[in-house]
């Protein structure tokens, strides 16, 4: 039930912009709760990686006096990975194309994260 609701938020998010290729909701200890990822992606590993990145980002932000972490962004040759908190105990991961308009994606991701936090 909850997974269905999360999935519908994710599919709305993926549909909101052609630049968003995939997304997932992950518990903060790295387990996938719902995902719309390409078939060849291992959900468990992506989940664990997102949790590790976000947790390190949080510690780094605090260590360098940047306050509470809002998001972690990774940029590769082929595009972006954006991770942000969706409530205290979950992570929203968004995978976007390389020519994506980041401002819009931030906005969509923030909206989706809020909706996810409300469900959890």
């Amino acid at each position: 039930m909850r997974e269905q609701m999360l999935k519908s938020i994710l599919s709305e998010l993926n549909g909101s912009s052609a630049d968003i290729e995939a997304s997932a909701v992950i518990s903060s200890d790295g387990l996938t709760m719902a995902a719309l990822l390409p078939q060849d992606v291992d959900e468990d590993r992506v989940g664990a990686m997102a949790a590790a990145m976000l947790s390190l980002g949080e510690r780094t932000a605090r260590e360098l006096a940047r306050g509470e972490l809002e998001q972690v962004m990774v940029k590769g040759e082929n595009g972006y990975i954006l991770m942000s908190h969706a409530g205290k105990d979950a992570v929203l991961t968004v995978i976007a194309r390389k020519d994506a308009k980041l401002g819009l994606i931030f906005l969509d991701a923030k909206r989706a994260a809020k909706a996810i936090a409300d469900i959890l």
Binding site: D29, G30, A48, A51, S55, R59
Partner: protein, 180 residues
């Protein structure tokens, strides 16, 4: 001591006490990355390490030992590779109260087998007060069958001296002339 900075890695299954052990011996406030547990871990404890633990142990004579702790769950095995790069030795903590600590030992020794080809291993067995068997001797016998003879200790991860002994045993096996 020749090298001034050394990096050692603490690994082992969930709940073996890696975070606690690093917290016990670190001379700086340890860096922890723990998150609320939602998996099977929840039966054992409320929080679990998701990226790494980090601490520093200062030895007499000015040498520094950087202590890195890994997450325990297998889904974080990419962190095992990342953290063990550049390390000079491995401390494997085993939780004696888990269903099959012997299997845990074999699992982690296999997961780190490439690393252990180049670097020594020391084993610390925790929670022997909760469950006394298998004994340290039993672990040693099983390892001897595959021609492995790492130092094995019964330890309490909350006890600074216990954990420091593990680290010193590891450093001695790298450099027997070391003075702690």
């Amino acid at each position: 001591m020749k090298r001034l900075d050394n990096k050692i890695i603490f690994t082992g299954p969930v709940g073996a006490g890696k975070t606690t052990a690093i917290g016990s011996i670190s001379d700086i406030p340890p860096i922890k990355t723990d998150a609320a547990a939602s998996d099977m871990t929840l039966h054992r404890k409320s929080h679990t390490t998701v990226a790494l633990d980090y601490g520093v142990l200062n030895l007499d004579g000015g040498a520094k030992v950087h202590l890195y702790g890994t997450p325990g769950q297998e889904r974080f095995d990419f962190m095992w590779d990342i953290l063990s790069t550049g390390g000079i030795g491995l401390i494997l903590l085993l939780d004696n109260s888990r269903p099959n600590p012997m299997k845990d030992m074999q699992f982690f020794m296999n997961a780190f087998k490439d690393f252990l080809r180049e670097a020594p291993l020391v084993i610390g067995v925790t929670k022997t007060d909760v469950k006394p068997s298998p004994s340290v001797k039993h672990y040693a016998e099983i390892l001897a069958r595959v021609d492995q003879r790492p130092p094995i200790f019964e330890i309490d991860g909350r006890n600074r001296e216990d954990v420091k002994n593990l680290v010193m045993a590891l450093l001695f096996s790298i450099d027997p002339g070391l003075e702690g």
